[in-house]
């Protein structure tokens, strides 16, 4: 849609020939991302948590399977930096473990669901016609199914899935319900890409379809997929916490942030640290991802608000 700011676009267009002001696309994206301080902060927090979940075990001499009979239900102390549970387990050890599980679930679900949606969406767009209609129908039927019930059935049932560790089971079920929205987006985006003249040009040159998909379609939906990856991680971590919180997600002996938060709800007043510490970690985790996602979106989207803000700022500075 053309709009009032059109003159600027017009000028940008006209100026393009001037070589010294033109910069590569990836550099623009990187520059925009790095300029967004929130996004950079998010990246650092996430990396810190990631390292904590791997090497955090060294911060405490206790592990999550060892009881400390001398410190049962103790608030944070030099001995136990984050305190202990009412069973006498070091909370730090539990949190390190829980964070790792949550991040793992997030990464796997985020990553694999992006893959599924990319393949499914591209397939729909590429074949079109009957294939597209059928696959779209399946997709919508899946969207209709209340995910939570299926999660509950799968994790509480006594069928064959029961043999899997509960976190893996949750991963499988979350995966099953996480890719439909993106698949639909990928489909519509690829469909519009297929109409682009450069795809037509390749087709009219006789370039085989496989090559066209690989060389022209996939790289161009890349930004959507990157964004969806971070969004998928956040979504999966949140879903894990929510499900585990009401007792249908991860089950002991597996530990996750959701399990820790859920377990502590009964004794918020007596053992507050047991509730607030894992909750804070979860917040940092999802918050840092959201901050990054925001920055990535602005960086990828040429018409995003980050330019708008820069505009107002410089305008004021100019006066």
């Amino acid at each position: 849609m053309t709009n009032i700011i059109d003159p600027i676009a017009e000028i940008d267009e006209a100026r393009v020939g001037d070589q010294d002001v033109v910069i590569g696309k990836s550099r623009i994206i990187f520059r925009r991302f790095m300029r967004n301080r929130t996004a950079v902060a998010g990246l650092f927090i996430f990396l810190a948590l990631f390292l904590f979940s791997i090497f955090g075990g060294f911060l405490t001499s206790w592990d999550k399977d060892t009881l400390d009979p001398l410190n049962i239900g103790m608030p944070p102390s030099p001995d136990h930096l984050l305190g202990t549970t009412q069973a006498g387990i070091d909370l730090m050890a539990l949190i390190v473990d829980g964070t790792r599980t949550s991040i793992l679930i997030g990464l796997i679900v985020g990553g694999v669901s992006v893959l599924i949606s990319a393949v499914y969406g591209c397939t729909m767009a590429f074949f079109g016609g009957k294939v597209d209609a059928t696959m779209l129908f399946i997709l919508e039927a899946l969207i209709m199914m209340p995910a939570i019930l299926v999660v509950a059935v799968a994790t509480s049932g006594s069928g064959g899935l029961k043999d899997l560790p509960s976190w893996l089971l949750l991963v499988v079920v979350l995966l099953f319900f996480s890719w439909m929205g993106t698949a639909r987006l990928v489909r519509s985006l690829s469909m519009s890409l297929m109409q682009r003249d450069y795809v037509k040009a390749a087709k009219y040159m006789g370039v085989p379809s496989r090559r066209i998909v690989w060389r022209h379609l996939v790289p161009n939906i890349g930004s959507l997929l990157v964004l969806d990856f971070t969004r998928g991680i956040t979504g999966a971590i949140l879903a894990e916490v929510a499900f585990s919180f009401i007792g249908i997600g991860i089950k002991l002996p597996d530990v996750s942030l959701g399990v820790l938060i859920g377990q502590a709800t009964g004794q918020v007043s007596s053992f507050p640290w047991m509730f607030w510490v894992p909750l804070t970690v979860m917040f940092l985790l999802t918050g840092s991802l959201a901050m990054m996602n925001d920055g990535l979106r602005d960086a990828f989207d040429p018409s995003s608000s980050s330019i708008g803000r820069a505009k107002t700022k410089t305008a004021k500075a100019a006066k």
């Binding site: 019930l149 509480s156 049932g157 919180f245």
Partner: protein
């Protein structure tokens, strides 16, 4: 128009049938009520269990397909959604549960929609000003807070208020106090029970609408037709209010379809946290009791809710968008 809605309904009916069937197969193959029976004292023999289940139409020895046919036959011929392992009829309890859920959600659904859209418009009109930043940041914050934890925090807050006042003002769980006398006391009791869950669901529910409405309105603020309206002599604000706003409702109306099941899913958590015995809580209880028929019935209900939402969205779209109306 009517024909179009009929057609859509037809397609959704097929989808409901398919999702429900798929749900049944999933439930029947993973839920094994017989396992729970083994924990009873005295422990019944497997034969006794099988015999009692056979009487309930839950014969564990039949394969899933046979059970599916039996179950479907019951629904088609007698509108009988089967029985629980304890012998209760699904149909008998269903209506009560739906009533409880509907009572719990209806107020917050409406409030969420109205407040969310209003705040979206308000924040879009004040883009990048303090009000917009506060409102929109809040909405993004809600996005990174899982619903049950959010509800739990509200519950904690309500308990805190009760304790601070030294008197029970809010009930944080349950529907009503048993044995309350009708009239004014019953009404006060009702409000005291409603307040906390409705508040919780509303303040954590509007975020999605707010962000969407804000975005769609901002997308349209600089549209060509707004410029035309301004060129006519409308002020910028008038042009946005009269032209951009109406157009920005179109995608919001469409998105309702996809938020209704989300409210329903959030409803599970609300019912679980606030202990309202609605459909959501029932389904989770049923699953932990390995109850195939109830689990499937609640799943079917979820699909129906979705379909209703989608049809409502179509309807709303045709109301606000004349381009669709002609077809």
């Amino acid at each position: 128009m009517l024909k179009y809605l009929m057609k859509r309904s037809g397609i959704y009916l097929i989808m409901i049938f398919l999702t429900t069937s798929a749900g049944y197969f999933l439930a029947v193959s993973s839920l094994k009520p017989a396992v729970l029976e083994q924990e009873k004292i005295p422990r019944p023999t497997p034969e006794q269990v099988a015999a009692s289940f056979r009487g309930l139409g839950l014969d564990p020895e039949l394969n899933p397909w046979e059970r599916y046919v039996q179950w479907l036959g019951g629904i088609v011929t007698r509108w009988d959604w089967g029985r629980s392992p304890n012998g209760a009829f699904v149909n008998a309890e269903f209506a009560d549960r739906v009533m409880v859920s509907t009572r719990l959600f209806i107020a917050s659904i409406i409030l969420t929609l109205v407040i969310g859209v209003a705040l979206g418009v308000y924040s879009a009109a004040r883009q990048y000003k303090v009000q917009d930043r506060v409102i929109t940041s809040y909405s993004y914050l809600v996005h990174i807070l899982p619903a049950p934890i959010a509800y739990f925090l509200v519950q904690l807050g309500a308990i805190g208020i009760n304790e601070a006042v030294g008197q029970r003002i809010f009930f944080v769980t349950g529907i009503s106090t048993p044995g309350i006398e009708p009239g004014w006391p019953a009404f006060v009791d009702l409000v005291a029970h409603y307040a906390v869950p409705t508040f919780a669901m509303t303040i954590f529910g509007w975020a999605g609408y707010q962000i969407a409405q804000r975005q769609y309105l901002l997308d349209n603020v600089n549209a060509d037709f707004v410029r035309t309206a301004r060129a006519k002599g409308l002020t910028r604000n008038q042009a946005i209010r009269k032209h951009a706003l109406r157009v920005s409702f179109i995608p919001v109306a469409q998105s309702i379809a996809f938020t209704i099941p989300a409210i329903f899913t959030g409803g599970f958590f609300a019912e679980a946290i606030f202990a309202w015995p609605g459909i959501g809580l029932w389904s989770i209880q049923a699953i932990s009791l390995q109850d195939v028929n109830v689990a499937t019935a609640t799943l079917a209900y979820g699909s129906v809710i979705f379909a209703i939402g989608a049809i409502l969205a179509d309807f709303a779209t045709t109301l606000v968008d004349p381009r669709v109306r002609v077809q």
